[in-house]
Amino acid sequence: MSEAVYTEDHEWLLIADGVATIGVTEFAQEQLGDVVFVELPELGAELSAGDEAAVVESVKAAGEINSPLNGTVSAVNEALVESPDLLNSAPQTDGWMFKLSLADDLDASKFMSSDEYQQFLVSND
């Protein structure tokens, strides 16, 4: 199993066999606060990197989750519809958001490793 990589928008991606599982980081869920609603992308939707893929609403604010890569939505985490709080309690496991079947070969250099992401958080504090 590969390790998760991270974006500057506080998303994590777990990439295996041309499919990326995508969610938000612990830092992102803390910033959002209590999540009350998650709008997931439609299955089969074709997303380009930077497209709005999902919306997360917390008690106080709405946040958009943009697709970090080009691809087709191959799965969404339906559990988040009934239990949006999974995004707070387990953002990097049970609170995953959607899977993207990647259109292109992965260029891993555009993402951060876990260590690099931690560094990024510290430098932006």
Partner: protein, 373 residues
């Protein structure tokens, strides 16, 4: 984010930080939007137990002078002359056009002394406004004074141990008291819909008072986020959002705040800024009205969302909206044409371009639990 150089801190700032407060700029102050528990838990804690709010950013202003009651009545459509000593009233400062410059709580301290608590973002304007219209009154702005609100089901239990006479106060009444030797002015009032108290305290004693209150197991700090969801569930206006200089008290649905004696046919009819406009609206009705909404589904409808009718025409706007932790559902308030304001009217709000069904509902959405004796 870069802080504005002139941002202020209340006397409780370091306490908020120590309690895990996430500090954000609000009305010129650095204030806690939430603490480590989060908005949802803080909201529920306040309803069920006791929530402590730092509201020291609000303007505490003393207005004094012979005939102050009658004078202040020129600026607000309430009956101050009949207000008993230590009684308070909710009021609006109106403008010439019948709009609202601010909403405030006015307490009569003596025959000729009134204590005003005004919104943080409006205090400079309010003081200038009063000074301009009533230059013969003496205005004292208590810039550094602390103001704490203790709200919720168990607030009275805390008071029972500290200052039992506070529990004899009924809603919208106050009095001087002493808590462990600290002189305070306590009123039975608040902004959560719950029974509760607001405690005005000298800055020299403010931290000691907070220590005394926080020593109770039932008392937790509550931030601005939960303050907003609590007042929204309670159907209370947030100035600058649900009401402003372009909306009248009639449109805002707070005719109840205009004393009978100041209305048409009353003993002290009119005589306040914007009276012609406001009395005309009371007589003939306003063309738009603030209403509450229940929202279908779980997605919150927020401030600024357009309200559309069945053919998609924009008919109004949401002025406050969010998730109600007590109701466990999204709720909102906003303005619609009066003919669409009846309870049960079904409309849609546009959220990210998609219509979301909303239904006009009676306010408050969560019953108020004020202590009326």
């Amino acid at each position: 984010m870069a802080l504005e150089p002139d941002i202020s801190k209340t006397i409780f700032h370091d306490y908020h930080v120590a309690a895990g407060g996430k500090m954000v700029p609000f009305a010129g102050y650095l204030m806690p939007v939430q603490y480590s528990e989060g908005i949802m838990q803080e909201h529920l804690h306040c309803r069920d137990r006791a929530g402590l709010f730092d509201v020291s950013h609000m303007g505490q202003v003393i207005v004094k002078g012979e005939g102050a009651a009658k004078a202040l009545e020129k600026l607000m459509p309430v009956d101050l002359q009949s207000l008993a000593i230590n009684q308070q009233t909710y009021a609006t400062l109106t403008n010439e056009q019948g709009g609202v410059l601010d909403d405030l709580i006015v307490t009569r301290w003596t025959e000729d002394t009134f204590f005003l608590v005004v919104n943080a973002g409006c205090k400079a304007q309010d003081i200038a406004h009063i000074r301009k219209h009533l230059p013969y009154l003496e205005i004292t702005y208590l810039a550094d004074r602390g103001l704490l609100a203790l709200q919720g089901l168990e607030a009275k239990d805390v008071m029972a141990e500290l200052v039992p006479e506070a529990n004899t106060l009924v809603f919208m009444n106050g009095g001087h008291a002493s808590i462990d030797g600290i002189d305070v002015y306590i009123t039975r009032s608040g902004y959560t819909g719950e029974d509760g108290f607001e405690i005005s305290v000298d800055p020299a004693d403010a931290l000691a008072l907070a220590d005394i209150l926080l020593a109770f197991e039932s008392v937790n700090w509550i931030g601005l986020g939960a303050r907003d969801s609590l007042r929204l569930e309670a159907g209370l206006c947030l100035y600058g959002h649900d009401m402003d200089q372009q909306t009248s008290p009639v449109e805002a649905g707070i005719i109840w705040s205009i004393s009978k004696s100041r209305r048409a046919g009353g003993a002290n009819e009119g005589g306040f800024l914007g009276a012609d406009m406001i009395l005309e609206q009371i007589a003939s009705g306003a063309s738009k009205k603030r209403v509450g909404f229940l929202v279908d589904g779980r997605a919150p409808v927020r401030e600024g969302a357009e309200i559309i009718d069945e053919v998609g025409t924009v008919v109004g706007v949401i002025t406050s909206g969010g998730f109600g932790p007590t109701l466990q559902a999204p709720i909102a308030m906003g303005y619609v044409p009066t003919e669409l304001s009846a309870v049960g009217t079904q409309l849609n709000a546009l959220v990210r371009g998609k219509p979301r069904p909303i239904t006009v509902t009676k306010m408050p959405l969560v019953p108020q639990r004020y202590f009326r004796g």
